[in-house]
């Protein structure tokens, strides 16, 4: 077994990206993801790669667009307000069908919000933060090890489908350290005959572009792109199930919320409540089949989210509202305690009402300006 080392989630992303063959990083610093840029600044010059701190988020995403068009494995990273700035570029990248890898280590919003962990960019990531009809593959790691493995997967999927793969993490997973090993890195490489690498006077010019002034042409590209998206939806959804075999209450959560939820599910089991967890690992494509199956089995769903209720809409859609779905949430940088989630599970199971008691509102480690 490869040696386990202790690493921050952000550093794990950077190291995994390098191992996945990324040699171009363009970014602009913002808390809580700056360790990614710092790591790249240190490493890239030593391995013949490019690290560039651009003058803004907008500049950096367009540098990503350029390097991607040239067929390079390229990435950028930012946090919520920075991703909003990059969204125009993400739309252009989608409209041009080039592969890019983007990381959003979310913080509280809207606006400048705060710097503490959040999951309130779910809509932005899964429904398209930029304009136009497009999708991104959205990966939601729940551990430092997954920060690395899903980074490699993200690069592979981006190249495979010529689209953006985004890691949607949060400040906690980005900042925390856990043991990690890099033994499982499986790098896939894809031919890129479409890339702008120079014709060598041997072929026609390749063109990378998102401008189609003729409506019928633009419509055709959109239909073709959605064919591709359908393939992604059919074949790339990932999720984890925990104690779902005989579950009557299905808790759903991704990222850091799923870790809190897991503790709560275990606590509910200890009280005799048959709770289980479905943790979407890809948020787009959303693991609809797993949710649909669960709807045949469970009495109710509880969606645990660090936002005002975003993924809950996809759960209702996937299950066609056949079972009640309740929300257990904190926002603004707050994280629910396992007790709060347990209360919601108890309420869903009909044990008691799920309102927060005074003691559950604030966990000790979150009191004050932290």
């Amino acid at each position: 077994m490869a040696e386990r080392v202790l690493m921050k989630g952000n550093e794990a992303i950077a190291e995994a990206a390098i191992r996945a063959g990324c040699r171009h990083y363009f970014g602009y610093p913002i808390t809580p993801q700056t360790e990614i840029a710092a790591y790249m600044a240190k490493r890239m010059p030593k391995i013949g790669g490019v690290f560039l701190q651009a003058e803004s988020e907008i500049a950096s995403i367009n540098m990503v667009y350029g390097a991607a068009a040239a067929g390079m494995r390229v990435m950028t990273s930012s946090s919520s307000p920075g991703i909003s700035l990059k969204s125009e570029g993400l739309s252009y990248i989608a409209g041009s069908d080039v592969p890019a890898f983007v990381v959003n280590v979310q913080r509280g919003g809207p606006g400048l919000g705060g710097i503490q962990p959040s999951q309130s960019d779910y809509f932005q990531a899964t429904k398209g933060g930029g304009h136009g009809d497009y999708r991104m593959i959205v990966l939601a790691p729940a551990s430092v090890q997954e920060m690395a493995s899903l980074t490699v997967k993200g690069f592979n999927l981006a190249d495979k489908y010529r689209m953006t793969a985004m890691i949607l993490a949060d400040g906690t997973i980005g900042q925390m350290m856990e043991p990690i090993s890099f033994e499982d890195v499986e790098v896939e490489t894809y031919d890129k005959p479409w890339a702008l690498t120079g014709t060598g006077m041997k072929r026609e010019h390749n063109i990378v572009n998102s401008l189609y002034l003729k409506p019928d042409e633009l419509e055709r590209t959109n239909f073709q792109r959605y064919e591709k998206y359908r393939t992604v939806e059919e074949s790339e959804a990932l999720w984890e199930e925990y104690l779902m075999e005989d579950a009557e209450i299905c808790v759903t959560a991704f990222g850091i919320a799923a870790r809190v939820a897991k503790n709560a599910v275990a606590a509910a089991r200890a009280e005799g409540i048959k709770a289980g967890l479905i943790r979407p690992i890809t948020l787009w494509p959303f693991p609809k089949a797993a949710l649909r199956r669960a709807a045949d089995q469970v009495k109710a769903f509880v969606s645990v989210e660090l936002n005002m209720g975003q993924m809950i809409e996809d759960i209702r859609l996937a299950t066609e509202c056949r079972r009640p779905v309740s929300l257990c949430n904190r926002t603004g940088g707050m994280i629910p305690s396992p007790d709060q989630v347990l209360s919601s599970i108890q309420a869903a199971a009909g044990c008691r009402d799920g309102r927060l008691s005074e003691g559950q509102m604030t966990s000790p480690a979150q009191k004050g300006g932290n």
Binding site: P32, G171, T172, M177, E178, I256, N263, I335, S337, N370
Partner: protein, 179 residues
């Protein structure tokens, strides 16, 4: 040991995060599951800083600690903020050079160590955090002082191995302290 949840808190600059990293690495080298979660706000520059470390024989669920088994504090605001969160039967380690208040709870074990003074006396004035760690390892039934030097060697960058001796000096002072 099943799971030990350790919360370390103090001012930014006191080495709170480093102390946590030391415990996490020690757990890692003992083949435990570990997590380390820092506070990362502006408070790290002179305000309050804290760090949550979980050591466990089973995979760590949430890395966020709400009820610590062990609380280690290096300033008064941190003691006041977290004292009531410690589980009954838990332990509180207090740097008594910097904190003059006593803990009123009677259902926890409290250790008062003049860590900052001891570090200063030993000529390692920036390592009060490691003095405390030495005392924690000695007195917590779930932890052990064994393997400390290997951990410090791992933790200190290869180019700065001269710091290993200084850290060990602080750790040993903490281990040997008798109230």
């Amino acid at each position: 040991m099943k799971t030990t949840q350790i919360l370390i808190a103090g001012f930014g600059g006191q080495g709170i995060l480093f102390a946590g990293k030391f415990l996490a690495y020690k757990g890692l080298l003992e083949d435990l599951q570990v997590s380390w979660l820092p506070s990362y706000g502006p408070e790290m520059r002179g305000g309050t800083a804290n760090c949550s470390v979980i050591l466990s024989e089973t995979p760590v669920g949430s890395p966020i600690i709400t009820d610590p088994d062990v609380l280690i504090v290096m300033n008064l605001p941190s003691l006041q903020k977290y004292v009531d969160a410690v589980v009954p039967g838990g332990q509180i380690y207090v740097d008594s050079t910097l904190i003059h208040e006593k803990v009123e709870r009677t259902d926890v074990d409290v250790f008062y160590i003049p860590a900052t003074q001891m570090a200063s006396d030993a000529g390692v004035s920036t390592l009060a955090n490691m003095v405390l760690m030495g005392h924690v390892l000695k007195n917590n039934p779930q932890l052990t002082f064994d393997g400390t030097e290997t951990t410090v060697q791992k933790l200190v960058p290869p180019t700065k191995q001269q710091l290993v001796d200084l850290n060990m000096k602080a750790l040993q002072a903490g281990r040997d302290y008798q109230p």
